[in-house]
């Protein structure tokens, strides 16, 4: 029934903030894209430089913030408030330090309005999937930040969201943890058939992790190009990787010089 409509439609989103002396700052300009239902879940990255409005866009999609104009549709429906149907992990993963791992997930479950009849989303399965088994009674602050990210991810997933939004999640982790978490996100996307929309400033991360990359410019923030990565592309292959890297670089270069250089690595 719901698959008649795209999973998520972001349509003509504009956002203005009030600047100093009453001036209007145009943060997002006619942002348009959509995420389709996929049989195995899809990972989409919004690749943009710092200050492009990525966080604002995710907050608008989630319902945490209102857009100045435009429309967001989830499975064909509009919404005004966040409801747990869209999972959200902010830039600083925020597992609640006063709850144990299990309590963090139970907190989310206690907010659930409808019973989820799917064993994949049981507390036990989510804990297993996130490789947190044996740590159920541990407090987040006892552990490293990668561990806390898993808790935040589990708490978002346990409500069986249609899509999970993650705001620039990996920049604070060391390279080893980053790669562990990339693998984890891919595994979850495949096993639970959940789609992810994440923001990043890192080209390598976007290529390795994503099925699709949305290139966003800044001043004001706008999606300028979508690069779909071939389903069976071998991203470990240098040639394939360089191909996508060049495509992304040329998308940014076409914008002129710029602040965007900060993301080229």
């Amino acid at each position: 029934m719901t698959e008649k409509f795209p999973l998520l439609v972001v349509k003509d989103i504009n956002k203005f903030f009030l600047g100093l002396a009453g001036s209007k700052i145009h943060v997002l300009e006619n942002v348009n894209f959509q995420v389709e239902h996929q049989s195995s879940g899809e990972i989409i990255s919004i690749l943009a430089p710092f200050g492009a409005g990525k966080t604002t866009l995710l907050r608008i999609i989630n319902g945490l913030e209102k857009s100045s104009s435009g429309q967001i549709l989830l499975n064909g429906n509009t919404y005004n408030e966040p409801s747990g149907e869209i999972g959200f992990i902010p830039e600083n993963p925020s597992s609640f330090p006063w709850y144990t791992v299990k309590q963090n997930l139970e907190f989310a479950l206690s907010l659930k309005k409808k019973k989820i009849k799917n064993d994949n989303y049981s507390l036990k399965n989510i804990i297993d999937l996130l490789e947190l088994t044996g740590y159920e009674d541990h407090f987040p602050l006892d552990k490293h930040s990668g561990f806390r990210f898993r808790i935040a991810l589990g708490r978002a997933l346990i409500l069986k969201p249609a899509i999970v939004l993650i705001d620039d999640p990996f920049k604070k982790f060391d390279s080893e943890t980053q790669h562990e978490l990339y693998a984890l996100i891919k595994k979850i996307s495949f096993n639970l058939k959940t789609s992810f929309l994440l923001t990043t400033t890192n080209i390598t991360e976007a290529i390795i992790l994503s099925d699709s990359i949305l290139i966003m410019r800044r001043d004001p923030g706008k999606i300028i190009q979508r690069i779909d990565i071939e389903k069976n592309a071998d991203k470990e292959n240098m040639e394939t990787f360089t191909y996508y890297q060049n495509e992304i670089k040329s998308a940014f270069t076409s914008l002129g010089d710029s602040p965007l250089i900060s993301i080229i690595n």
């Binding site: 907050r59 945490l64 966040p82 747990g84 999972g87 992990i89 602050l141 978002a156 409500l159």
Partner: protein, 253 residues
């Protein structure tokens, strides 16, 4: 950690030195004076305090007045936290406007009015401390809630939490360590004002013991009660610290 231990040992040595000095000075060198009592008389005054001054009843009265009031005020604030942190609510405006009074009028003056209004009620002290703790906790909650990481609130909102859940399960939890620390820091103040209140009002409580002891110029009773108060405050402070570490182990906000 080691530095702290050294400091705490140093503190202990100083305190023990004061006691030793007191025993030497007032036990042997200047036993007859009006400044501090002789150590042996202090020990003897314990039985007089127990029988003539009703130490047990008065100590329990003051102790329970403070800590029961603190517990009641704590849960009252919990019950209305949703309104305290919601700057658009009527209650918030009402409470903010009341902050004018304690800013310029000392708490003790409010105590005088309570004594005037309820001179013979046994719960006047409870009302006095409950109102003071309740009000100061509201102000503290209001200030601390502004420091709560917005990620916590965003996450809770994103999961579909309503304002009440955010207030009770996120903000209240996040500021818990600050509130307990605040109570830990301020409970000695509560002892001071309640003792003064009891001193003025009469009836039950340690303040009444001081009043009677002053009337009879009983220096040893005053000194012994002071020691007992110090010991009780030390142990309750210790207990509060233990509770903070056990149940509020996360860092503030």
């Amino acid at each position: 950690m080691n530095f702290q231990k050294v400091l705490s040992n140093k503190k202990l040595y100083f305190i023990l030195s004061y006691f030793l000095l007191w025993i030497i000075l007032f036990g042997f060198l200047i036993p007859a004076n009006n400044f501090l009592p002789k150590p042996s008389i202090v020990l003897m005054s314990l039985s007089a305090l127990w029988e003539d001054y009703h130490l047990a009843v008065n100590l329990i009265s003051t102790f329970s007045t403070i800590y029961i009031s603190v517990i009641i005020a704590y849960f009252l604030v919990y019950a209305i936290i949703k309104f305290i942190i919601n700057e658009n609510s009527f209650l918030f405006d009402f409470i903010s406007s009341l902050s004018f009074f304690p800013k310029y009028i000392p708490d003790m003056v409010f105590g005088f009015f309570l004594i005037f209004w309820l001179p013979n009620s046994p719960i006047t002290g409870f009302i006095f401390i409950t109102v003071i703790v309740f009000y100061s906790l509201i102000v503290k909650v209001h200030l601390e809630s502004k420091k709560v990481k917005h990620e916590y609130i965003d996450t809770a909102r994103a999961l579909g939490s309503n304002k009440s859940i955010i207030a009770r399960k996120v903000v209240w939890k996040a500021i818990g360590p600050s509130l307990i620390k605040y109570l830990l820091d301020s409970h000695t103040y509560l002892w001071s004002i309640l003792i003064a209140f009891e001193f003025i009002k009469g009836g039950r409580g340690l303040g009444t013991i001081f009043k009677t002891a002053l009337m009879y110029r009983d220096l040893s009773a005053m000194f012994t009660v002071t020691l007992i108060i110090g010991i009780v405050i030390y142990f309750t402070g210790f207990l509060l610290k233990y509770l903070k570490n056990k149940f509020f182990h996360w860092s503030n906000c």
